[in-house]
């Protein structure tokens, strides 16, 4: 059937799967032969080799190119081969059926848009027939036809065919797969592949070839999805910064206002860059492009751009269905690398809901307390990441709804993200912390507090310059220390020398200063320490932010209150004088506001109390707080 072809306009990738020895490679060899797609001399060459080696000729040798494969008559690794019909070009992906090579089967199948699943008519439905069916669904392949092969063995019996169809259809249905059709074939003899068989007159068609052309479609990217543009790299070949990436969903155009995860920074698309291509102000799904922005913001690989109106989720925990291919099990308590689009982040198992044998669909229960997912097993679980990850559920956007797990040097598992009522982000980036799940080690804050016999907390002193914050802080530190408590003072100057050395005194920088101090204080508290801070911290919203990020009951706001006149009189550093002289601008209490706390845990009037009295009040308060401390380590 020598053919010449007109210009093909599309390409479809089909994977051939099924249990070991059910005839997948034989089928591909025969399909090529029967459609006149074999290169000249290939058949003769294979026959000659078989003769020379004194083994029967196998169609499978067309695909099984490795000597080790031919020696054992088995496919080890997946192969791709091309052929063409009048309708389109096909990439046929032959996958191995042996359980040992499941990772190669997954590699082949993950690339495909459609699948042919082969079942040996004699052996019937076997372990990998079911497992492959299950995995196809997990990999998102919806177009499936089942070929009942080796029909010559049961004498082309319709009863046998019907029996297998009934059993396998029921299985597929239980995993959510609806096959397009079942076709009885004999790969070895070429029945119902390119031409309708005369040995099975009870089967009226279509042939496999007709099925490919007529039942299967080339997948088109889903339209009207929200934009997802993960940044692959940032190029600076000239004075411009170009964000390189591929549009994974939706489309992007000049003028689009973008929001970048995880920084939540925004900017606008200035140009879309391509080389030697038609100039266009927009790019569609699948295009690898470059983007420049109107405002220069810091963006690096791993950031994900979306339209401001429809950002992805950004969380540190999500629910997933995962298959594991690694030689070593996927263990709870161990950290792995997770790759999702261009993001890479450390992760671990949070909780495992169930582990499934993907062939029998039975739930696997583990003896002992160790939690792990073994090789070739499938699990529903929650994954926790070190940093928040931008993602979508697989049901919403496919390319950003799946990930792989790297164990050591090897990609060892893959997963899809399931729906789970994830909170949508608000546009207020500062509230982002609501969605961040804390990554816990093996020791909890509670255990630490139990051992220390006191809570870890933030004692936040706020008040005017000269109100007595620093004095109280250092006295308080000594007092608590003498009582055997873990205590530390976060000093304003020390912070500004190190961590905050990049910040000035503008409103924005002051806010950032307090935010960082708050973050550090929170960590100290989590570590079990009583951390005392002494910052003017004049803005209510700044202090409230720290309150918000600190666990319930662990933020003790202390209003160190003295009238401004008293403070000005004390003026220990001579700052009020300078402010009055106009040498310091925006001085709190003189030329900038101080917003007094409305719900401070303690208020201390330093114009009425001595320093030891003031310290005593705070110590007393903390003692009360520790009374409900009854943890066991």
């Amino acid at each position: 059937m020598q053919q010449t072809f007109s210009n093909p306009t599309e390409q479809l990738k089909i994977v051939i799967v099924g249990h070991v020895d059910h005839g997948k490679s034989t089928f591909v060899g025969r399909l090529f032969n029967d459609t006149g797609s074999l290169p000249e001399g290939k058949l003769e060459q294979l026959k000659l080799i078989a003769e020379r080696r004194g083994v029967p000729f196998e169609w499978a040798n067309l695909m099984d190119a490795l000597q080790s494969e031919r020696d054992q008559n088995i496919t080890i690794d997946t192969t791709q081969i091309w052929f063409q019909t009048k309708k389109r070009q096909y990439v046929i992906i032959d996958a191995p059926g042996h359980k040992e090579f499941l990772k190669n089967m997954v590699t082949g199948a993950a690339n495909a848009e459609a699948a042919l699943l082969l079942i040996d008519a004699n052996e019937g439905v076997q372990e990998q027939s079911r497992r492959h069916g299950y995995l196809l669904n997990l990999l998102g392949i919806k177009q499936i036809a089942v070929l009942v092969n080796k029909m010559d063995l049961p004498n082309y019996s319709q009863a046998r065919f019907d029996e297998i169809e009934k059993e396998y259809r029921a299985f597929l249905q239980s995993v959510g797969v609806i096959p397009k059709l079942f076709i009885p074939i004999s790969a070895y003899h070429g029945d119902n592949i390119a031409t309708l068989s005369e040995k099975m007159l009870w089967y009226k068609g279509p042939t496999v070839l007709q099925t490919l052309d007529e039942e299967f479609r080339v997948s088109q990217p889903q339209e009207n999805l929200p934009l997802r543009f993960p940044i692959q790299d940032v190029y600076r070949f000239d004075e411009r910064r170009i964000l390189a990436g591929r549009v994974e969903a939706g489309s992007i155009k000049v003028g689009d206002k973008l929001i970048f995860s995880p920084t939540n920074k925004t900017s606008t698309v200035k140009t879309i860059e391509r080389w030697n291509a038609q100039q266009s102000d927009s790019a569609a799904t699948g295009e690898s492009i470059g983007v420049t922005l109107t405002e220069q913001i810091f963006v690096e690989r791993g950031a994900m751009a979306a339209l401001e109106t429809s950002p992805p989720y950004e969380l540190s925990r999500f629910k997933a269905r995962l298959f594991w291919l690694g030689r070593n099990a996927f263990k709870k308590g161990k950290t792995y690398k997770l790759k999702l689009a261009t993001q890479e982040v450390e992760c671990e198992i949070d909780t495992v809901e169930k582990i499934i044998d993907s062939s029998t669909l039975e739930t696997i229960t583990r003896a002992g307390s160790e939690v792990f997912i073994g090789r070739n097993e499938v699990a529903e679980l929650r994954i926790r990441t070190k940093r928040p990850v931008a993602f979508d559920a697989i049901s919403e956007i496919v390319p950003t709804g799946r990930f792989v797990i790297v164990d050591g040097f090897d990609v060892s598992g893959g997963g899809v993200i399931l729906d789970d009522n994830y909170p949508r982000r608000t546009s207020d980036s500062l509230h982002k912390s609501d969605n961040i799940f804390w990554s816990h080690g093996k020791v909890t804050a509670q255990q630490r507090e139990g051992r220390n016999n006191h809570k870890g907390c933030v004692v936040w002193l706020t008040g005017l310059s000269g109100a007595g914050k620093s004095t109280i802080a250092s006295e308080l530190e000594r007092e608590l220390f003498n009582q055997g408590k873990h205590v530390y003072v976060l000093d304003g100057d020390n912070m500004r020398h190190g961590l905050n050395s990049d910040l000035g005194f503008s409103h924005k920088d002051r806010t950032e200063n307090i935010r960082r101090v708050g973050e550090v204080a929170k960590l100290f508290a989590d570590a079990g320490v009583v951390v005392v801070t002494a910052f003017i911290s004049p803005y209510r919203s700044d202090r409230d932010l720290v309150r918000k990020i600190t666990p319930e009951g662990r933020f003790v706001e202390v209003f160190v209150n003295a009238p401004v006149e008293v403070c000005e009189q004390r003026d220990p550093k001579g700052l009020y004088a300078k402010a009055r002289a106009g040498e310091i601008k925006e001085f709190t209490g003189i030329s900038a506001p101080y917003e007094a706390p409305e719900k401070a845990e303690l208020e201390i009037h330093t114009d009425k109390l001595t320093v030891p009295e003031a310290v005593g009040r705070i110590v007393e308060y903390l003692k009360q707080q520790d009374e409900d401390l009854s943890y066991s380590i």
Partner: protein
């Protein structure tokens, strides 16, 4: 999106991944049609620039016009070129044309060993190579990111899984990764793309007055032209649409034994 653009976008994605992931990245340039398309795709990926040095393994048996063409493009396109070769073997004359080596041995020393020497010298941990799955059966089993151990050996029985464009970018020290951005292209696709983009190629691919042209170009003692009247890209595309002879039929080293090529590739040949 039409299918050529799909192929193109996928290749660009892979090149950009490679460029981001490898500190020492090189790109093999054999001057043939595939590596010329590869080079073109690099310019697409990096928006007109080629920020990756090109490595040419010169066997000294390359057809002279290839070298002229190479040096001209280096100038015009502002390319960084590294030339490698196996001086020792050439000096001793242990080559196939001298009758002192089989074709396969010759490929082993002049290409494979020479390649290893350049990679070692420049400490490349990533090399972009323009092989395609449809060229021959062991390449059909390749990965986009394909690891080679410190001896450059390819463990074809145990290749890394590759799914959803997540590639193997973590590997042991001393190992290196071959990156294959053209893996999913066919010979026909290459020519269709050459036509669409108007990519300059060496004239050896086009039929001469004697009615001969090269379909695949290697060293002259081991590469033979085919009979053909196709003297331009369009005619080559038409010819390929009907042909049933494999592309590497004119490459003699593949035929010394049944698994000659597989052995070469396991040992690190491209």
């Amino acid at each position: 999106m039409d299918y050529l653009s799909k192929l193109e976008n996928q290749s660009i994605y892979i090149m950009r991944e490679a460029f981001n992931k490898f500190e020492k990245l090189g790109m093999l340039w054999s001057i043939g049609k595939d590596s010329s398309v590869l080079l073109w795709l690099a310019r697409k990926a990096f928006l007109g620039h080629v920020p990756i040095p090109l490595v040419h393994v010169d066997t000294s048996y390359k057809i002279p016009s290839m070298i002229e063409y190479r040096d001209r493009l280096v100038k015009e396109w502002n390319l960084q070129l590294i030339v490698g070769g196996n001086e020792a073997v050439l000096k001793e004359g242990r080559t196939f044309p001298n009758g002192k080596a089989t074709r396969v041995e010759c490929c082993g020393t002049l290409k494979k060993d020479a390649l290893k020497a350049v990679l070692d010298k420049h400490k490349f941990n990533g090399v972009i190579v323009g092989v395609r799955r449809d060229e021959e059966p062991t390449r059909a089993k390749e990965r986009y990111f394909s690891p080679r151990d410190k001896n450059m050996e390819w463990n074809v029985e145990d290749q890394p899984p590759e799914l959803w464009d997540q590639f193997k970018t973590d590997f042991e020290k001393d190992a290196h990764i071959r990156i294959h951005p053209l893996l999913h292209w066919t010979e026909l696709n290459i020519w269709e793309y050459v036509e669409r983009e108007n990519i300059p190629l060496i004239p050896l691919y086009y039929a001469n007055e004697k009615g001969e042209r090269f379909r695949s170009i290697g060293c002259y003692p081991c590469t033979f032209p085919i009979k053909s009247k196709a003297s331009n890209v369009r005619e080559i595309i038409e010819e390929l649409r009907c042909t049933k002879t494999p592309e590497r039929a004119g490459r003699a080293q593949d035929k010394e034994s049944e698994d000659a090529f597989e052995k070469l590739r396991r040992d690190g040949y491209m």
